[in-house]
């Protein structure tokens, strides 16, 4: 049975354990039928609909140990974020299972949970509590959070809808990074913010990693990946292609990208050549036509 299990925190053994993970999405029309199927046919699969399924991720197995920082690399749309969602437990796998031992701090969507009509202060308390922070803890850290997010004190009690998008993201990061959960999931959030803020984020993450916390990072920035990660998972076409150190994973990704670019260039060149040939032929034909014509226009 496919499932995501959350156990107590352990000191030995892998923190995240994925076995044969797979997620299936229905494509187009089948979405509508799936509702009927669920009520009438139960979970039985309709053999005729097999072609309409799409597996963004299938047969993925790996383990992550305590204190590891794992970078996930791969092209857009290969299932990196889906994998992160499975680990976070906000998506349920159709195949296999993933066991996560310990609480997860999701730095997936930093503005998640902020209500536009509430003030910055109210939102910090709301989202902090939603993630399991006690009120005393938030009281204690409040100054630090606001300070880190660089929110001017006059804006603290302003509704968040008047904040700039940068302010919201900064506040989100400042808050979530205060969570003391042992596992952190990071999805491209380092790409936000200006230079100075980015540097602060790096330092915060360094501190967390020094604290023996486990991190899974999805990013397209090779610099970020090299900086933090000691391991790399290369996801290719919905499957796990490589599970090694980050350098090899990046190298493999790079190679495939280069091969793909070369392939595309070759295709483009071929296309261009074909187009040129066609053009030449057309020109020739036109010239012939002109020659064959009565020449009335030429004079």
């Amino acid at each position: 049975m496919a499932q995501t299990t959350y156990g107590a925190e352990v000191t030995t053994g892998p923190v995240i354990e994925a076995k044969g993970l797979g997620v299936k999405f229905a494509v187009n029309r089948r979405r509508k039928r799936s509702l009927r199927e669920m009520f009438i046919h139960g979970t039985k699969r309709d053999p005729n609909a097999e072609g309409d399924e799409f597996w963004p991720l299938r047969d993925v197995s790996f383990e992550v140990g305590r204190g590891d920082c794992v970078g996930i690399v791969g092209k857009n749309g290969t299932g990196k974020s889906t994998l992160l969602k499975l680990i976070a437990g906000v998506l349920m796998p159709d195949e296999g299972d993933v066991q996560v031992r310990g609480k997860v701090a999701p730095l997936l969507e930093l503005r998640a949970g902020f209500n536009d009509n509430l003030t910055g202060r109210e939102n910090v308390y709301l989202v902090g509590s939603l993630h399991g922070m006690s009120e005393e803890l938030i009281d204690e850290r409040f100054e630090e959070i606001i300070d880190f997010a660089e929110i001017k004190s006059k804006f603290v009690d302003t509704p968040v809808r008047h904040y700039s998008s940068g302010m919201k993201v900064r506040l989100g990061f400042a808050l979530i990074s205060q969570l003391e959960h042992p596992i952190m999931l990071v999805d491209e959030v380092l790409a936000v913010g200006d230079k100075a803020f980015k540097r602060k984020c790096y330092e915060a993450i360094d501190r967390m990693l020094a604290n023996h916390r486990t991190m899974v990072l999805v990013s397209h920035s090779e610099r970020d990946l090299r900086r933090f990660c000691n391991r790399g998972l290369y996801i290719k076409g919905g499957g796990l292609a490589l599970d090694t150190d980050i350098e090899s994973a990046l190298a493999a990704y790079d190679e495939d990208t280069k091969a793909e670019i070369a392939e595309r260039k070759k295709r483009d060149a071929a296309k261009k050549k074909r187009a040129e040939e066609a053009q030449q032929k057309a020109d020739e034909a036109a010239r012939e036509n002109e020659g064959d014509g009565d020449g009335g226009q030429a004079a």
Partner: protein
Amino acid sequence: MASRTLAVWEHRKVVGLLVRRDLKVKYQQSVLGYAWTMLEPLAMTMVYFFVFGVILNANRGMPTEEYGGFLLFLVAGILPWTTFGQILGEAPRAMITHAKLITTMKVPREIFPTATVGTKFIEYLLTWPILLVFVVVLGGRPSVMGVFVWLPLAVVLTFAFGLGLTLFLSSVNVLLRDVERLTRIVTRLLFYGSAILFPASMVLESDQVPGWAMTLYQLNPLLGIFQMHRAVWFAGFEELTPTTLALSSSVVGSILMLIIGYWTFRRLEMSVLKEL
């Protein structure tokens, strides 16, 4: 099922936070806050009172002045109905509005519909001061049976039915967005089908309604529930208490709705998470 219910209970703090957030947002946006939420049902009550009671003179078989009259009858039905109608109105969006939270936070997903219903429960409690004012001014007569049996039963069944319906509608609506529109139409039909504006006896004692239609009419669980809400305030006016059939269909219907709603919610949970 037991373990999931337990998980929701363990996350009751989160439910509380969501309820508090919704109330805060709702009441701080306008100065009149509370007054506004009360104004709407009261305005509707007045409209119905004048149209049906005064102009159309349709208050046959209703409690007379000495019992509190047509006006108390209307208020006692419309106030709980407003809450129920709001549950129906928000139920289809209970999951969609929380899409961002659901896709980033690992919590039992049931807490979002539960929070929606919880908010409405608090708002229902807030209608009580108004209701009591009407009861005192118009001279309603609460009965012992009414206060200790009908009232708690009515409240429990209203919210059990509401929660079941919210679980059902919130998950189905993610996959089939038409549900939202359909719900709006059904809500209107239910308003008239649940005898909010007239006593159910008007239908049940009519010569023009065939027997099967009467049975069908009483099978609507909401009919009994709202009859109970009203029966509390009319001691000695037995025509307003639900019939055995209406009573049993409210109890069975509410429990059934809760089970169906929960079952559907669990069944669709995986697809809902993918679509959000």
